[in-house]
Symmetry: C2
Subunit: 344 residues, 2 copies
């Protein structure tokens, strides 16, 4: 519990409750007609794209000294702001607020009780002024009590219908097409891809498995405590109203070490919350690739970094520049942001 | 921390600090000459072997109603007493005691201080009379302070040389040949096999990856807390002298849910510490297989169950009988216990 109150920003900490594919073998794939096919078609042909391809081609070439065996090809991706958008607030919050509204029928007292009152009235100003422990407690009550299976089913029903307040499309349509291509390109080259996010583990497992074509055991996130109990109808796990682990900042390398037990060779993030896992990745014997998704496109997405509470990118941007990490400018390096015709 | 003191036996709790293959497609494989090859050659042709094969053939047959998709074929195995022996005490203890002996040079005071005195003198009687918190604290001090990488390297060096006190072979030669074949048979049928043990996660990752041919991300175990820190030489994770999680009893289904996010369809254990994950496995929509390895062979291995502190099997044996789980008698069902010519 103590770790929560060490983190700096209101938003990053809160996220503890939160969070498509094709398939060529290498970037320039020979097609039947002998023409080459681009595995990263939504990336502009910039230096950034070249660095990614050059890295992957190098470490997968057994005749080169930088060759990495397939079992060590671990690639870890942050989720919010790295694989899908995170503005105006983390998408999981919309789910949480919807849940609190749903449960408010059983809690008439919430109408006059903060922070429920602010959530029910959509009063973001009041929410931001709510003391953190109070807000966390409220959210825990709203999100605990179910089995993980039941909770994930609720998340799934929500993600299949809920729409973003300004973009007016489903939240899962706000994934980044270039990142879907990158995930797929890496998998085609025998990288095992993981999501490592401050978002809630069950939220992500309920909403993102099909979106990113990723199995639940390759998703790491923040967790509530759980209990195993015997009921009249059987044996179940129940989500408890108490935080267990915050998968943010130092928590990211700690969780990667615990769950995977290997250091990633590729690490991608977009905020200071990803700095620790980027630093950890950068310090190893294998050739490694650290990447920052920089939100530079105010027209097609949002533009923000050092001054933003959500996706706060300051120290990590400084270190990325100093250490020559790959900094992806969404405006310059991406042909498209979201999938075209992303409907289901 | 509280969970530790809830567990019943001295040994099971302590284990928090603890802790090969061939490949045919199905049991009766057609060989080139048209003869069939047995995937479980070290299993006697008993009802038990038939039940295992019948289960696997059923759930992997797409034309049968019990068919399970490959991504849901999760098989979880306990380690101590299920995949390798655990007598006279859990093998990790020998490593722990060796470590304490090694570090005792820097701690001359240990000669007169319990429980170090008992450990250094090999006084098992005194050890069993040591209050649990005191013993745990002592072991934590001996095993914390390293990076996971350094600790795993120490474990590896130990497992490659240390010998069992009475069997006079290396500890990793005391794995069960029939279980190596079962692991392999399941993998050949697209099951993802996991170890879920009360043993120490880093201990198992240091010693068992090659023995069971299992990647580190498919090993779940008990953990110490860790910290991520920046040192003069880089960014490292350090094992702290504080317990984080005990992967035993209720902790097993809880950890499976957290790390894998799917309920296993096959679960194998040998003691009451495995009961919760066996119960959880038994309660689901998929056809499932619960298995108990029953230590019945006093000549080739050890014979024990209800009265043993190590591998205490009492409630789980009752439920296995009541619910018709598969109970493997090592004496009746296994042709051999340990691998023949298991040297490296």
């Amino acid at each position: 519990m103590i770790r929560i109150f060490k983190t700096n920003t209101f938003y990053i900490v809160l996220v503890l409750l939160l969070t498509q594919a094709c398939s060529p073998k290498s970037n320039e794939r020979e097609t039947e007609g002998g023409l080459s096919e681009d595995a990263l078609p939504s990336w502009n042909n910039t230096e950034i794209k070249n660095r990614i391809i050059s890295y992957v081609e190098g470490v997968t070439n057994p005749s080169l000294p930088e060759y990495i065996k397939p079992e060590d090809r671990i690639a870890c991706f942050d989720n919010d702001g790295t694989l899908w958008s995170e503005k105006p607030i983390y998408f999981q919050f919309y789910f949480v607020f919807d849940q609190i509204k749903k449960k408010s029928k059983e809690h008439p007292e919430w109408k006059n009780q903060q922070p429920y009152k602010a959530i029910l009235e959509g009063d973001h100003e009041a929410l931001m002024n709510t003391p953190l422990p109070k807000l966390l407690e409220a959210i825990q009550i709203a999100l605990a009590g179910d089995t993980p299976e039941a909770y994930k089913a609720e998340v799934k029903a929500w993600i299949d219908t809920a729409k973003h307040p300004t973009k007016k499309v489903r939240f899962d349509q706000l994934v980044y097409q270039p990142m879907l291509e990158l995930l797929d390109y890496l998998r085609a080259n025998d990288f095992k891809t993981y999501i490592v996010s401050g978002g809630g583990l069950d939220f992500m497992r309920g909403s993102l498995i099909d979106v990113y074509n990723i199995p639940s055991e390759q998703i790491l996130g923040s967790t509530l405590k759980t209990e195993f109990i015997e009921t009249d109808s059987g044996y179940v796990i129940i989500r408890q109203p108490e935080l267990d682990f915050i998968d943010d900042k130092d928590g990211k390398p700690i969780n990667i070490n615990r769950v995977i037990g290997k250091k990633p060779v590729i690490c991608v993030g977009n905020s200071d919350g990803d700095l620790a896992m980027l630093q950890w990745t950068s310090d190893q014997e294998h050739k490694n690739l650290e990447m920052i998704i920089h939100h530079t496109d105010s027209v097609r997405e949002w533009a923000y970094d050092r001054d933003s509470k959500i996706g706060h990118l300051d120290k990590a941007l400084d270190q990325a520049k100093a250490d020559d990490w790959v900094i992806v400018s969404m405006k310059e390096d991406w042909k498209v942001i979201y999938p075209q015709g992303n409907s289901k």
